[in-house]
Each structure stands twice: as structure tokens, then as C-alpha cells.
């Protein structure tokens, strides 16, 4: 009987007052049981933060790691066909095609003879670009002025045993050079002498035959770039450096999967813990539920009340957790990669939807259990 009268009374009431009553109940519930509400909210925030941080990292870390992998140097090489020099305009054309996406460094080579007649490979390049491309070169001192040479560690004893000035001859022309630094790489560079490109061209008249290019991007972007280069330079061969490309792809793929597995693990745990905490919280309020039911609240209002509460908790938790998670991701980026991980706001709707969904689920489960129970039993404490 009372159940049929109460909704009628409610209907007669002013809707604004009903809304305010609804809000007051929710507010009082949060304030009176702040310990419980806080621990539920804490769980929600932690879960949302963990999920945000992992998703942000997962999206951003690949770009960060790709940048690290560019330290391996050139991943595309352009060479003149059959060892011939590239046309004079080629270096400029390649640089403009690559643009800001990478680095293109020209190299020219000849075999010259030392003062004692020993053959040695001499290379001409742009030192400032080569330094950026090949960060692993161990160089004691980079040449800055004209006629200064960088001498490979194995070439040094042959060309300039006491580290002073030396002469090299190529096709009857002699260059007077000074060794200002030594170069060590553990590869072919150790047996060479490096000169600035304009010194080299003035002496030998030989143009660059090789351009080494480091492009960053996914393998699809890089193959698009190689095709564009090959189309614009029909007289040259454009080769991707397989050693570098395949190594990078392999390591990046494994790393992506590891991060994905970690993200799934962490997010699943966090969600399950939230579920456990919230179920406990709602179940514990069965007395409130029983009183409301005894006072004649219809099921619709009861469900609405608990669902709204859960929804607010999920939304507030998602916002706080998102902010916290973005902070954690940025911190990890700064500490590890010395560059912040930019916040991905595209992640937020996913986090918000997930949080609210988990919160609603944890409200619905205990309510559907309680619905069948008589309020009197609950109030008697059974």
C-alpha cells in the first residue's frame, strides 16, 4: 500500500525540489562516509592514472625509441651507378627531398698516395653534418679550418707518424694537410683520411659519389621516401640499409609488444581492484538501500541513485586519474628519454568511458543481488 502512495506523493512534488533532494542525498552520502568514499575514489583514480600513463607511453614511446635508433646512422644510401660521381645537383635535390625529416650527408672518395708512396683512401665530407649523422665516431678533435684533416686511427701511423703536417698526392697534384684529430670507429673509416668537402674538391676535382641519409619514421614512410628519391635521381641507386632497418624493426616490435602486455596487465589489475572495492562499498550500504525502499522509493529511483553515484565517482576518478597519469607519463619521458611525453587527449574519452563503465558495473552487481531481499531482513541486520 505504502509503495503505491509514495510515488504519487513524489510526483506531486516540485521537480526542482526532487532534484535537490537527489543531490542532497548523494552529497550527504559522500560527506558522511568520507572514509569509504575516499577509498573508493582513490582506487578509481589509481586505476585511471595507471591506464592513462600506460596508454600515453604506448603511443609515444615508439617515436621516442625511433629517435634513439637514428643514432645508428644512415638507413638509406644513395650511390652513383657503377661508382661514378653523382651529378652536381643531386646533393641539393636529396637534401630538399629529405627536408626536416632527416639528415643527408655527402661523401666523396679517392685513393691517394702518402709521401712514402703507400695508397690510402681519402674522403671528403661536410664535417658538421657527419658529426650529427655518426654520433658513434670517436673523434679526438674535429677539424674546423681549411687544409685540416681528420685521420683514421689505423691510417695515422702511415700518413703522419708524428702527428704533424703531411702531404698526399692524387694524379700528380699534392695537398699539404695538417692532422688535427684522429678518428676511431672499428670499421673501414679507421683506414681513411677525412677532409672538408670543398678542400677535397679543390684538390682532386672529384664530386661526391655517395650520400648517406638518416630518415626517421615508420618503415612505410621510409620506403615512400626511398621511392621518391629513386624517382627523382634516375642516374643513382637508392638502397635502404637492411642491417639498420631490420634491426630497428625487430627491436621496436618486441618492445611494443612488451609495453602492450604490461599495459594490459596493469590496466586489468587496476580495473579488477576498483571493481572489488566498489562492490564492497555499495554492498555495505545495503542499509541505506533498505531504508529508502521501506520509505517507498520505487526501484527506478533506487537504481538511478546508485547508478548516478557510481557514474559521478567514475567521472571524477577519470578526470583526476587522467591528470595524474599524464603527469606520470611525462615524468617517465623526462627521466628516461630527456623529452616529455606529450599528453594525448584522444586517450581521455577511452579512460572516462572505461572508468564509468567499471563503476556502473560494480554498482549494478550488488544492487541486483539486493533487489530480491526484503528490506526488513536487511534492517534487522541479517
Amino acid at each position: 500500500m505504502s509503495e503505491s502512495r509514495a510515488p504519487e506523493a513524489a510526483r506531486r512534488r516540485d521537480p526542482a525540489r526532487r532534484t535537490s533532494m537527489f543531490l542532497r542525498m548523494m552529497l550527504r552520502a559522500a560527506v558522511l562516509r568520507r572514509g569509504r568514499a575516499a577509498s573508493a575514489l582513490l582506487a578509481m583514480v589509481v586505476a585511471a592514472a595507471a591506464a592513462t600513463a600506460m596508454l600515453n607511453l604506448y603511443v609515444d614511446v615508439q617515436a621516442k625509441l625511433r629517435r634513439e635508433f637514428r643514432n645508428y646512422g644512415a638507413n638509406v644510401v644513395v650511390v652513383g651507378r657503377d661508382g661514378k660521381a653523382l651529378p652536381a645537383s643531386a646533393v641539393q635535390a636529396i637534401s630538399s627531398t629529405v627536408g626536416a625529416r632527416g639528415l643527408a650527408v655527402p661523401f666523396a672518395y679517392v685513393v691517394a698516395r702518402t709521401g712514402s708512396g703507400q695508397p690510402v683512401v681519402v674522403a671528403g665530407t661536410d664535417f658538421s653534418l657527419a658529426r650529427r649523422l655518426n654520433g658513434w665516431w670517436a673523434v679526438s678533435n674535429w677539424p674546423t679550418g681549411p687544409q685540416q684533416a681528420l685521420v683514421g686511427s689505423r691510417a695515422a701511423p702511415a700518413v703522419s707518424p708524428n702527428g704533424g703536417p703531411f702531404d698526399l698526392s692524387f694524379q700528380g697534384k699534392t695537398a699539404h694537410l695538417t692532422a688535427v684529430g684522429t678518428l676511431q670507429t672499428g670499421a673501414a673509416e679507421d683506414s681513411r683520411v677525412y677532409l672538408a668537402l670543398n678542400d677535397f674538391e679543390a684538390w682532386t676535382g672529384v664530386q661526391p659519389s655517395t650520400v648517406e641519409i638518416a630518415v626517421s619514421g615508420s618503415s612505410k614512410e621510409i620506403s615512400a621516401m626511398t621511392q621518391a628519391l629513386a624517382a627523382s635521381l634516375p642516374e643513382a641507386e637508392v638502397r635502404p640499409v637492411r642491417q639498420i632497418m631490420e634491426g630497428e624493426a625487430q627491436v621496436l616490435g618486441k618492445m611494443r609488444n612488451t609495453l602492450l602486455a604490461s599495459a594490459v596487465l596493469i590496466i586489468a589489475t587496476a580495473a579488477l581492484c576498483v571493481l572489488a572495492t566498489l562492490i564492497g562499498w555499495v554492498y555495505d550500504r545495503r542499509r541505506d538501500f533498505a531504508i529508502m525502499k521501506a520509505l517507498g522509493a520505487p526501484e527506478r529511483v533506487l537504481n538511478g541513485f546508485f547508478a548516478a553515484e557510481a557514474g559521478v565517482l567514475g567521472a571524477v576518478g577519470a578526470v583526476l586519474g587522467f591528470v595524474l597519469g599524464v603527469g606520470i607519463a611525462a615524468w617517465i619521458g623526462r627521466v628516461n628519454f630527456h623529452a616529455p611525453v606529450a599528453p594525448r587527449f584522444g586517450v581521455f574519452p577511452v579512460i572516462a568511458a572505461g572508468s564509468i563503465l567499471v563503476a556502473l558495473l560494480s554498482a549494478v552487481l550488488p544492487i541486483s543481488l539486493l533487489r530480491r531481499v526484503e528490506p526488513a531482513n536487511i534492517l534487522r541486520g541479517e
Partner: protein
């Protein structure tokens, strides 16, 4: 009485305990799995980075200068010094033999094709069986140059079959299975090799074939070694000759590229070993970045797990104010009640922790198998540590809730005004 209280509490409130216990188990499980993955990731990625190929090269000590432009060797093959092939198995006798995943000797020579053309031929190991003492070891370019692809079959190291570079094969119009005459003797083409480098224009054959063409049995020009190394630090860069005994031992017994190269140089007479800086240096950077990333992610995961466990424990205790009221009304002291709850928390932490550890170890193994195709195992030594942390976290999570429960007036609790 105390034990019976705890026991009955677990028996009668199985559902609640199960919820809290599940939270602890999950938290500990994820923490264990993440710790296992993070501690092992360096080793696993180090192996993956070996896809970049050899990181150490061994050359004769008194060698003449290389004349190499764009990978093409201009030096006459007879010029300069050689290493001895019979010294190579000694590589597996060095201290860091288990870190050396493979090595490949190289001997570039010029072979005479029937059309009176001279073509570079590279002699090497493909997947050669080397017996060293009782151990057997398979090594060659298939380990040290994993980006080399062969269409057809890899030649047998004991045969005289060769591989043709893909451009050369197109130029000569040969297919796998064809015969080719090199410097007067007939060889079968086992496959077509594609490397993306100068080998595409060359012939690659077993080491013995190159030695026969050169007329110097046992000669090797250089050896590429692929070793798992540790990222370089300040100690690694120091000169071993300037170190004192203890520092030298520490340097010698760390798998730095420098110290492995140093040991190779000791093992092979008249040799000079050096790290290939392009591979070795960058490997160190990439490795330390990835290790750092996993460490931080693990740290974040541990924090999340700890907070989640804390929240679950706090909830579990808040539910039981009426019980506290009853105990107090019956005359239990605060210490007694706190002890009771802490004992429960410890038991939950231990049980959940043990189950979580087992689950986490399984999870880590599954991750290792599915991503890296290798085992990730967790040291059993970690079990007591993880259990201690689990108990500590459940304590920390319960502490605030227990304090409030203990302070609660029993009258209100019993009247149900919690």
C-alpha cells in the same frame, strides 16, 4: 582463543576475505610479473639487438691499411697479413664465451669467371660446426649477419657450393642449382644471396674455397664476432694498462665491448680486436633507454598495485565496525583488536602474496614465450622479498582503517550507526 577468532573470521566471512585476497593476489601477481620482465628485459633486448650483427672485429695486428670505398675492397687480396683459421675455436675459450653468440671469419679474394672477368669472392662460414673440447658450437654468417637472405639453400660449409649475389646472378643469368666455373674449378650455385650491400655483386662461398683460390690454406683476413655486451660506463672507457689490480679484475670480468675485445686479442695470437662502434655504442644507448623505461613502468605498476591493495584492504575493514563494537563491549582492549586485524591482514598478505607470486611467475613465462620466444624466469630468492612487501602493503592499507575502527564508540557500532 585468538587463533580461533582469526580462524572463524576466515571461515564465516569467506566472501569478503576472498575479495580482499583476490585484490592482494592480483596486485602481487602483476608486481611479480613486471619485476621479472624488467629484470630480464636487458638480456632479451640485448639478444634482439644482435640483429644488427657483429659488434667486435678481429684483424691481424700487423695489417696494411684497408682500401675500402663503399664496401668494395680495392686492396689486392695477397697484400697484408692474415689470421690463422686454426686459432678461431679459441674464441670459445675466453672468459665471456657464453656471451659470444657467434663469429664469422672473412677472406675476400678475386675469382676468375670464365669470361676472363675477375669477381670478388668472399670466403666465410655459413653455419659451421666447430668442436671445442667436448662442446659443439655452430657459428657463421647466419648468426652474425642475420639480415642476409638466401633464395634457394645455404651451402654446406664442407662442400664447394657457393652463393651468388642477387645482382651478379641477374647479370650472369644463373639460378640456384646451376654450375659455375670459378678460377678453373666447377662449383654448384646453392642459392642467390640478397644483403642490400656490396655482397649483392659478389660471390660468397665456404672459407676453404676462398683459401684454395688464394693458395693459402688456413688464412683468414678478419673475424666478425657477435657478443652480448653491457652498456659502456666510465670504467669501461678506461685504459686497462693504467688500472690497479682490483679495478682491472672488475673491468676484465664485466662484459663491456672493450673487455671482450681485449680477451679476444689475448686468445688469438698476433691479432687486434676492436669494437665496431656503430653497433656497440648505439646498442648501449638503446639498451639503457629500454631498461630505464621498463624500470619506471615497473615502478609505476608497483605503486598502482600497492594502492589498489591498500584500497581493497581499507574497504574490507570498514565493513566490520559492528564486529569491533562487539569485541569492545565484551572487554577487548585496543591492542588486542588491532592485533587481531593485523594478524588477519598478515595472513591475507601471505596467502595472497604466495598465490600472486606463482601466478606472476607463470605470467612472466608466458610473456617471455610469446614475445621473445625465450624463457623469462624469476629467481626464487625474490619470493620472501615479495611476500614481505605484500604483507607490508596490506598492513599499510589496513592501518588507517584499523585505527578508526578501534577508536569507534562501541555503542554506536552496536546500534548500527556506523
Amino acid at each position: 582463543m585468538f587463533i580461533r577468532l582469526v580462524y572463524e573470521s576466515f571461515r564465516r566471512q569467506a566472501r569478503r576475505k576472498l575479495l580482499a585476497g583476490a585484490a592482494v593476489t592480483l596486485g602481487v601477481g602483476v608486481a611479480t610479473a613486471m619485476i621479472a620482465v624488467a629484470t630480464d628485459i636487458g638480456d632479451k633486448i640485448s639478444r634482439e639487438l644482435r640483429a644488427y650483427g657483429a659488434n667486435i672485429v678481429v684483424t691481424p695486428q700487423e695489417d696494411s691499411l684497408d682500401l675500402e670505398i663503399g664496401g668494395v675492397n680495392l686492396k689486392p687480396p695477397s697484400d697484408g697479413a692474415y689470421l690463422n683459421e686454426s686459432d678461431l675455436p679459441k674464441i670459445k675459450r675466453t672468459f665471456w664465451r657464453n656471451n659470444i653468440l657467434g663469429f664469422a671469419p672473412m677472406l675476400p679474394v678475386n675469382a676468375q669467371l670464365p669470361g676472363s672477368e675477375k669477381t670478388p669472392l668472399l670466403g666465410t662460414y655459413f653455419a659451421k660446426r666447430i668442436t671445442f673440447g667436448k662442446e659443439e658450437f655452430v657459428t657463421g654468417v647466419r648468426t652474425t649477419h642475420p639480415w642476409w637472405k638466401v633464395e634457394g639453400a645455404w651451402p654446406d660449409d664442407e662442400s664447394s657450393d657457393v652463393l651468388l649475389g642477387t645482382r651478379l646472378a641477374a647479370q650472369l643469368g644463373r639460378k640456384p642449382g646451376d654450375e659455375i666455373s670459378l678460377s678453373g674449378s666447377a662449383h654448384r650455385v646453392a642459392g642467390i644471396l640478397s644483403t642490400g650491400g656490396v655482397e649483392d655483386e659478389q660471390i660468397v662461398g665456404p672459407l676453404a674455397v676462398a683459401q684454395a683460390i688464394l693458395g693459402r690454406p688456413g688464412a683468414v683476413r678478419r673475424v666478425y664476432v657477435s657478443a652480448m655486451t653491457k652498456p659502456e660506463d666510465a670504467l669501461a672507457r678506461r685504459d686497462p694498462r693504467s688500472m690497479s689490480g682490483e679495478v682491472y679484475d672488475r673491468w676484465y670480468c664485466s662484459p663491456y665491448p672493450q673487455s671482450i675485445a681485449f680477451q679476444l686479442q689475448e686468445a688469438i695470437p698476433h691479432s687486434h680486436a676492436e669494437q665496431i662502434r656503430q653497433v656497440a655504442q648505439n646498442e648501449g644507448t638503446v639498451l639503457s633507454r629500454i631498461e630505464g623505461l621498463m624500470l619506471l613502468v615497473t615502478l609505476a605498476a608497483l605503486c598502482a598495485a600497492a594502492l589498489a591493495v591498500s584500497a581493497a584492504m581499507a574497504t574490507a575493514i570498514f565493513e566490520r565496525r559492528a564486529e569491533v563494537g562487539l569485541m569492545k563491549a565484551l572487554g577487548a582492549g585496543r591492542v588486542m583488536i588491532a592485533l587481531f586485524f593485523f594478524a588477519e591482514a598478515a595472513l591475507l598478505g601471505l596467502l595472497g602474496g604466495a598465490a600472486g607470486f606463482a601466478g606472476g611467475a607463470l605470467l612472466a613465462r608466458e610473456i617471455g614465450r610469446s614475445i621473445f620466444g625465450a624463457q623469462i624466469s624469476i629467481a626464487p630468492v625474490l619470493l620472501p622479498m615479495i611476500l614481505a612487501v605484500a604483507v607490508l602493503v596490506t598492513f599499510a592499507g589496513s592501518a588507517a582503517a584499523i585505527r578508526r575502527a578501534v577508536r569507534f564508540d562501541p555503542v554506536f557500532a552496536l546500534r548500527g550507526e556506523g
